[in-house]
Structures are given as structure tokens and as C-alpha cells.
Symmetry: D2
Subunit: 354 residues, 4 copies
Amino acid sequence: MSGKISVAVLGATGMIGQRFVQMLEDHPYFDIEGLYASERSAGKKFGETLKVRDYEYRQETLDREISLMDLDHIARHCRIAFSGIPSELAGPTETELARKGVAVYTNAGSHRMDVHVPIIVPEVNPDQFCSVKDQDTYAQGGYIVTNANCASTGIVVPLKALNDAYGLKEVFVSTYQAISGAGYPGVPSLDIVGNVIPFISHEEEKMETELAKMLGTYGNGQFQYASFKVMANCARVPVVDGHTESLVLALRDQPSLEELGKALAGYRGEPQKLQLPSAPEQPVIVRTENDRPQPIYDVMAGTPARARGMATTVGRLRQSNGYYKLFALSHNTLRGGAGGSMLNAEYAYRKNLL
Amino acid sequence: MSGKISVAVLGATGMIGQRFVQMLEDHPYFDIEGLYASERSAGKKFGETLKVRDYEYRQETLDREISLMDLDHIARHCRIAFSGIPSELAGPTETELARKGVAVYTNAGSHRMDVHVPIIVPEVNPDQFCSVKDQDTYAQGGYIVTNANCASTGIVVPLKALNDAYGLKEVFVSTYQAISGAGYPGVPSLDIVGNVIPFISHEEEKMETELAKMLGTYGNGQFQYASFKVMANCARVPVVDGHTESLVLALRDQPSLEELGKALAGYRGEPQKLQLPSAPEQPVIVRTENDRPQPIYDVMAGTPARARGMATTVGRLRQSNGYYKLFALSHNTLRGGAGGSMLNAEYAYRKNLL
Amino acid sequence: MSGKISVAVLGATGMIGQRFVQMLEDHPYFDIEGLYASERSAGKKFGETLKVRDYEYRQETLDREISLMDLDHIARHCRIAFSGIPSELAGPTETELARKGVAVYTNAGSHRMDVHVPIIVPEVNPDQFCSVKDQDTYAQGGYIVTNANCASTGIVVPLKALNDAYGLKEVFVSTYQAISGAGYPGVPSLDIVGNVIPFISHEEEKMETELAKMLGTYGNGQFQYASFKVMANCARVPVVDGHTESLVLALRDQPSLEELGKALAGYRGEPQKLQLPSAPEQPVIVRTENDRPQPIYDVMAGTPARARGMATTVGRLRQSNGYYKLFALSHNTLRGGAGGSMLNAEYAYRKNLL
Amino acid sequence: MSGKISVAVLGATGMIGQRFVQMLEDHPYFDIEGLYASERSAGKKFGETLKVRDYEYRQETLDREISLMDLDHIARHCRIAFSGIPSELAGPTETELARKGVAVYTNAGSHRMDVHVPIIVPEVNPDQFCSVKDQDTYAQGGYIVTNANCASTGIVVPLKALNDAYGLKEVFVSTYQAISGAGYPGVPSLDIVGNVIPFISHEEEKMETELAKMLGTYGNGQFQYASFKVMANCARVPVVDGHTESLVLALRDQPSLEELGKALAGYRGEPQKLQLPSAPEQPVIVRTENDRPQPIYDVMAGTPARARGMATTVGRLRQSNGYYKLFALSHNTLRGGAGGSMLNAEYAYRKNLL
């Protein structure tokens, strides 16, 4: 008997699901009870469904069988469900699991704007975790916690650091998003080889609302959104993993670039204080070379080993006409996907919220 | 005797030089006197030096011999030199040619900030052409006219249209620039396959000054810069031709999106009135699909045939928090390179400025 | 009244279907009666379904409406159906159309191995056209003619030229196939960006049988296959259009490389003699540079304009250990797809086989 | 005092040099004495010169300073020089180092065809190591050992296994080579994005001779080449790391595909028996899926951790017309570059040949 908490992975054959499985190998708190997917994959071995390029699973993981999703079975055997299922399916499935008493940590967007459902990045808004207590299902032990969409997650920690230090007024963000963000099969190669697609469905709206929700507060049973403005332009580029984001910021104060860099590099949150297993020691890495961050060098940033792909890298800090300019990069299916929910669950575990 | 004006192409083996050659085939005003390059290429046939993917030269063009650059010879035989040579070489070479009485139309950046040298996009600032008369060499018939850098050119016509109609206050621009913008051999494949490089040397500074110079005025022997602010973030992406640019604009007025689209689509300048050979009938094309413009579909936009790659395509017109958002795309080595200088020379020809 | 033959395009929203439409614009023999597709696209305008990067359709083509496929309607109004529908659907649909008296020219593989159905490349085996007369439906005017799969088509003309001149014994072929060969959405970008996939379902078997069928004979109601051997290895690479193929050949004779080049460059077939509209003047172009053919330069080879993308380009002719080595390149959705069937229909038209 | 052997890395800022450095971190036999390069890089920190995407160096390695190449200094302080310098420079430099008593393990091609210089892959021809004793410089302790070119290395272990078991008669090989094989800056992005280049200078000649030299013998002061024939067609594709190779083989015997697979998967050589640090436990991995090997999944194959990228992966074993067909994949800068010479030096260390 391991003493670890039993967890289910929903959508285990998708890009996010496979990252959940990766992060759960040898996890100190959690044990995989089962890998779940649709009829199409049920019965296959996990190793027959691989889609992730840059991780080698252990043989016993490759040999695990994919099961058909059975909510009653999951509710009986798992305290947590990590969900990487598509949004259209995630809505009712996750609601039902919460009703059955399961703690759902999900990458899906379906419930992010629900009235008592938080979007948590534990370096940013761990206090909003308390909103789950106002969910109808909480009495039975069930609740839903979401991570933010991948493009918002990629910049929310630096924005939090700067908001704390200097007050954030306006965020102009343009994204260079990786193809893995669209899942598998996702973007047809004919559409993206040698191309830029200046449209990702609902992504700009998500960025403009999710960032404000996360940097806001929760009290009296409702979320109060932060008042800074976000203007987002989102585009897809031929990169496999790693969302690059161009930022122009209006701040209340006017720090020097050196101060700005220090505020970013020195920022630490609850995950760092608690030394959560998937928490990067330094959540925001500041590069001083003139051409970084780049996906090919920085996408896996983060130490220790369990936190690879969990740090955000920023670089090219500049000023122009009173605004601050920089580029940020983070891994969209690790920090911006499965890793986000994993860190949320680790935080809950350590805070006895499970 | 053709009656056409004899022109030299400098740097005829480079990406821009080869586009000059393309645009000069069967040109109604100009005749190629010679193709010039460095020792490395002199003596080769033009057809042995091809680097452009999507244009088929005529056999007689392919068979032309590349000559070693000889400024005296050029000055004796050519009224115009179209220059596609690298900036470090362009500075002294172009100065010397102007001294020798040649009208230099150049893509190089060396002289763009010179005190009496204009950066012309004839849809935008044909009136600034008069600044050449204040150049020291003008009395001998020599002068320098530059086209803007490729990323500025890609958005200056829509910005002009909106500035005229609604008053431009702030421009937040992030670029997704094609590899052909760096010339040949340019960007190593190891640096860009599957990657984004968030740095292009001096590009942001160029955008922040060149746009203001072009949208400003010339009088009393000096340029007066426009007062709107530009905040630029420039990045390279794995696209062959076509710079995509993300724009957020603050305008003085608050037009509806429909009005905005009409101001853009309806804009016409001097090249359209004069029906210059390389002028697109509609300089700014507005797409209404939800995922355009895209390099693979829109980079060659422009009619008639001689004006292919000379129109800017914009799309995704949106509003957010009082700002206007859109994406723009234009061909960086046609409209943003050789085609820019070609149009300048055509304008000069028709205005008897040659 | 145009005097042209009315034709239907089946699968008009797919990669091949859109190439059929391209080739039918202003066609001297054929008139598009209707564009047909499945429920998903019926009712849309053709211009809303575009997938081809490098061709600009006329506005009236873009405005044509896609109709739901109605075989009776097609049979009543069209002499020819050009079929670009998926193989699983093509089998019964094309059989039914032939039964209703329609001449079906198809890119689908379903009927290629049928007992009286020819695989025609008119430079190679126009004599096999007579096999249609043995099809059950011929009496009612209906029959099926197929073009070869794209990888076979890409090399069959050079192989025919060399077989005629020197006798072909063995063909070792490895392919570098473009993503457009898999149709749309086809290959997921996550599978092919920065990758090679050494497998294309059934492609090697097709090459090993279709080449032998085409270079064989038809007589006494059956096909006699050619006796040379084909050993094929097929792979997908991140190229948009254009199949490159590596060839090692064992010939009966031992020509010099110069003779080999002449046999290839000088080859002419029936389409050239008849000057069919889509026939390239020179079906096999021999490049002498040390690094050609390349997709980016040679994929659209072929003159006159209607025959762009219809020539095969070969290069790097070498000898090694008694074998001949070369590379070949041809456009997989023009010559190797829609263009192949178009040329077949043009041949039939001129031979009064319609 | 570590007791390890001091080694120099020549060309430490290049693609191969950086892989040497990677493989030397914490090496059980060898200690880096210095990193050497040309004037351009001398004085920089190693971390400022990074070009390899997928490896994270230790901080102390990143902080090492690059020194200007000083052969006397190297000869005084190093027993081994690992050479990753360009061939034109490698010829005289390596000769000079050997004269000064240094054991040179090189990736450069300059000396591969020298009369007493072996091309070693220790799974294949460790017995040819004895040829170094016939080198002029051997008395002073200096000699040169080369690894094969990357495309030959990628298939030589499977060929050796099959030659031993069934007798190799003919090898038809077509390559799909990665861009890292051309070094840095190497292939311009404009040449390879969305393209195949069917030419790599001298690569085919190297494959046709190096394979025969390695599978031959050394005796009486000279190499006897193996008698099987190699017919090679080499091409570059847009892949970062990993050469895929298509193979058609004529064997003396006619094993079943199952036997063939077993001969490949079961093959072990000296490195495996000696358990050399960089030796993969299983040098040839046989995949049974229908679409492997693929660069994105298999390029880093090899266990234990030090041997990642050192195994060759083969798949798609098939028969056709009496020939055997398969695809092979190996890492071109690890197994096919720095890792090859590392394994050679490890072998020499264990055999007391240093």
C-alpha cells in the first residue's frame, strides 16, 4: 500500500492526457489508477497511442491498457480525475464526476467561467482555491478546478510579478502558438507548413477574460475581475511545442529595465515555498541574450527534473514610449496544460484540500 | 531604339536583386542595361544564381551575364540604379553613384535616415519626393530615394488610410517575418526549422522611426516626423515569403468596424490614379473570412499581373477596450523590397522627375 | 452554345478536385456543368472551400456553388465525370456512373486493377485505351479510365523512354512524397513537421503493380504485365507539392550517360504529337545542375502555360556498378492527379473516343 | 587526481564538437582538458556558442572558456584529441597532432581513405584498429582513427549483422538526411524549408567506399575492401537530427523476415561485450509498427542513458522480388558523429591501445 492518492487520467490518448501520464510517472503524491479514453482507443496499450515526441515513458507505462471511460468506476476508485478531454465532452463529464464526489483537475475550458470554478495557477492565485467550497458538489467531496488556457498561462506568472511590483494597466499581447496546442490530429500539415494562421478559435476572448479572472479576487461567493485591460492577437506558427508571446505593457510605475528584470527573476509563489514536486525553483527565468527566448532552446526550461517545461522564460526587456516590451515563452502542454493541473493538485494535496 | 530608360540592377544575385530583375522583365518604362554583383558572381549567367522560388524568368533573362560592379560604367550608361546590395556596402556605393549623376532607387537601409533622403511609398508620401532636390548631388542629376524596410512597408499603406480618416495615436505591432527578409544565405535552417526567433537586428528601431518619417512631412529642408507612437516587437518565423503583422491601434476617432474596413478597402493613392505599371488597383485588400490573411493564400495579392505581390491584405478587424485590432500581410521582397523601389521609380518617371 | 463537352467534377472540394477545376478553367474542349461534393460542402461557394496554395481561380469560378452529388442528374447532363473522390466512395459511385452511360476519368485507385479498366498515361500506353470497349457498360457509352497513383505517374514517362530505348530490367525506387498527396486534412502537422514518415498505405504495392500494368500490353481481353521488377520504398516528407523519387535502374543495354539523357529529353508521345491542351511540349526535362530537380524550383515544370506542372524533371544522371542512378520529380496533384485524368480525357476527345 | 585521460575537443563550437562535449560530461574514462576553436570563438564561454537543441549542459560546462587551437599545448597536455573541425582544416591539423604524439579520434573525412588509417565502428570492425600500428607516427604514440561519415554509420551495423548471417551482395540505399549533418550555419533555410535537395557533396562516393572498407579486412599493411556493391542516392530533407535511409538488399541466402529481424535485433559486438560507456545495450532496434522508424520518435534510441542516440532503429522489413527492403534511422551527430569517435576511444581505452 503506497499511501498515494489514486488518480484517473481522462483522455489519456490525447496530447494533454499523455502529458498527464508523463508527469504522473513516479509521482510522490499520486498513483495512476487508470487511463481512460473513448471506444476508439479502449483496449489498446498506452504505448500504441503515443503522440508526444520528446519524452520516453517507462516500459510499464507503455504496457498499461487504456480503459473505456466509466464514471461510476472512476468515482469509486479515484479521488482525483485529471482531465484532458475535449471541451465539448468535458462539460457534462466533469460536472457528473464532481457530483459523484471526484476532485476534477482539468485542462478543458468548459467550466472556466463557471460562477464558483476557479482558474488556478498556484504561483498567482492560490487564494482563489477557496471558491471550490461554494460549488454545489463540494459537500460530497466533488469539485472542479481548472487550469488556464495555454496562452494565458504562458504569461500570467510574469504579469502577476509585475502587477504586484508596479501595477499593471494595459497588456498588448500577440501570440506565436505551437501546433500541439490544437491537440491531435489538430492542425492539418497543409495549413501550417510554411505558414502563419492568424486565428485560433476563442483564444483571444479567453486571454482577455481569464487573465483578469486569475489576477482578480474571490469573495462573497463571486469572482471580482482585475481592472487592467488585455488586447490579444493570437496566431498559430509551425512550431511543435512552446508558445512564444510578444508583450507590450503599460505599468502604473516606471521601473528601470534592471528593476523589471529583478522583479521577474526574483518572483516566488506558494509552489516554490512549498517545494511542490512539479514546481520550478525559479518560475520566471530572465534571459539577457539578444535573441531569446526561443522554443528550440527554452521550451523545457525549469529545474529540478520534474519541473522541466514548467518555467516561463522571458527576454528582450526593452522600453519604448513609456511602455515596456518583452517576449515570453512557455511550454503549452506542460506548464500550459497537464502541468498546470498537476501543480494545482499538488498544491491541494499539501494544503489538505483533497 | 526602345525609348525606355536604361537601368542597372545592383546586387542582382541576391534575393532583392532577383526581384528587381523579375519586375523589370518587359517593363514599359525601363530597360535593363546590366546586372551587377561582386567578384563571386561576375561572369556567371543570371540563371546560375537563382534563389527565388516562385517566378519563372524568360530564357533571355536567364542567359544574361552578371557583370562586376563598375560605377563609372554604370554612370555612363544608366539613368537609374536599382540597388539590392547589402547595407554595409550600399552606403558608400550609392553615395558615389549619386555623385556621378545616377538616380539611385534603393532597398538598402544605409541612407534612409539621411537628412534629405526620403523613404517613399507612393501611396503614402509622394510629396516627400521633393526632398531629393535638396540633396548635394541633385544639380548633377544624381540622388537617392529609398524604400522603407519590409516590415514598415507592410503596414504603412493601411496606417496612412486610417490616419487620414480617423487619426492615428498609437500603433502596437508584432511581426511574424519571413526568412527571405534576411537575404541569402541568411537564416541558417538549424535556427528556424520548428522555431521562432524573437529578434531581428535593428528592425524594431527602424519600424519606430521609418513609419513616423513617412507619415510626417518635408518642408524647409527637413523632415518633420509624425507624432503617433509605434511600439514594435519583431520576430522571425518559418515562412518563406510574406510578413504577417499583428496590429493594435489607438485612433483619435471611434469608427465602426464597417467604417474601418471601408476606409481601408477604399483607399487609393497616386500610383492608382496614375495607373503605374506595378501599382495594385486596390492597395489594401480587406478579407472577411475569420482566418485571413495567410502567407500561403495572400502573399501574392495584387492585380493586374504586374502588381502581384504589391497589395497589402488585412483581416480580422476587431475592437477591444477601445482599441482596434487587425492582422496585415504583405510580400516582403516584392512590395516590401524591390517592388517598393520599382514603384518609386515609376512614379518619378511619370512625374518627370528622372 | 459552346460546342464543348459538359463535364462534372466529383469531389470538387478536395485537393484533386480543386486541381480538376483549375485545369478546366477556359478549357478548349470541356465545360464544367457542375461541381459536386458531399453534404458537408453542398451549398457553399467553391471559393469558400479553397485548399490549393498556388493557383488563383477566376472570380466566376470562386462564385460557383457546390452541389450535392446526384448521379442521375450528372448522367443526364454530363458526358464526362472527373472524379477526385476518396477511394472507398469512388468504387461504387464510379461503377454506377459508368452504368448510367457516363465516361468516368478518375484519380481514385478503386478500379485500377479491374480486369478491363486501363491505367492510362497517354505518353506511355494510349493503346491500352481500347480496353474500355470490353467494359460491360461500354455499350451504353459508360466506362472508367483511371490515372496511375501519383508516385507511379511521376516516373512512368522516363521509365517508358528508357524501356523503349534500352530495355528495363529492374527499378529500385525510393520516394520523398509531398503532403498534398494525402489529401485534406490528410497528414496531421504534428506527424510531419521536422519528420520523415517511412510509410504510405498501399503505395509500394501500387507502384510495384501499376508500373508493370502500364508498361505491359492489352490484348484478348486482358492485360499482360511487363516483366521488369520494381522494388519500392515510399516515405512522406515535409514538402507541400511535388514527389521526388530516387531511382536506381538496371537496363538491358549499357548506354552512356549522354545517350541516357538524350533518350529522356528527346522522348515524345501521343499527347505531344496531338498537341493536347494539357500536354507539356517536352514531357521529360533533363537538368544538368548538380543539385536538381528540387520541388521548390521544378514542381511546376512544363510549357505552355496550360501544361505547367505536367512535365517530369530528372537530374543527377550517374552510373554505379553497372546501374544507372537518377532523381525524378513531378507534381503529384497535377501530373500525378487531376492533370493525368485531364490529359486522358483530352486524348479521348481528339481520338473520338467520347 | 582523477586518473582519467585528458582530452582536447577540437572545433568545440561546431555541431559535432558540441556533441563531443555533451558525451564527455561526467565521462568515466576521459576528462576535458580544453575546448578549442578558431579566433572567432576563442575567449568566449562555451555557453555563448550553443547550437544543439536537445541537450542541457551542466553549468560548469557552459562556463568553460573556448581556447584558440594550439597544437603544441594540446600535445603536451592531452593524450587524445577529439576532432570536429571542418575537413579542409582537419587534414593538416590532425596529421600534425599525430606527429606530436597525440591519439586523434576524428569525425572529419580527410584521412578516412589514408593507407593505414582505419574507419572504425567498434560493433563492426574493431580488428581493423591494428592498422594504426602501421602509421608513421605510431612510434611516437600518435595516430589517427576516424569514424565513418554519418550516412554510412547509420546503416553499417545492420549491414554487418546481415553480412555475417546471410551474405551481403548488393545494397541500394537512398537517404533522407538531416540538416544538422551539414554543420552550422550549414544549409540556408531558404534552400530547405518545404524542399528536398537531392545532392550532398561527395556523400554518395563516401558511402560506396567507406562501407566496403569497414566491412573488409586489414592485413599485410593494407585494407582489403569487401566485395558487395553499394548504389547510393543521397538527399537532404527538412529534419533537424536523424538520417533516415531506405534500403533494398540482395543477400546470398534467403532468410525469412522473422529470421532477418532476429539477426538484426540479436546482433552484439565488442562494445556490448565490453559494456563500453557509450555503447547501446542493443545496437540495432527492430520496430514492428507499420510506420517506424521516424526521426521524431526514434532518433534518440539507445539505452542506458549515456548511449542515447547511439542505437540504429530499423523497421518495415519486407520482401519484394527476392530482395529485402527496410528503413533504418540513426542519429547523425551522435552515433554518426561525435558518438562514433567517442566509442572508438572508449574501445581503445579498454583494450589498452591508448
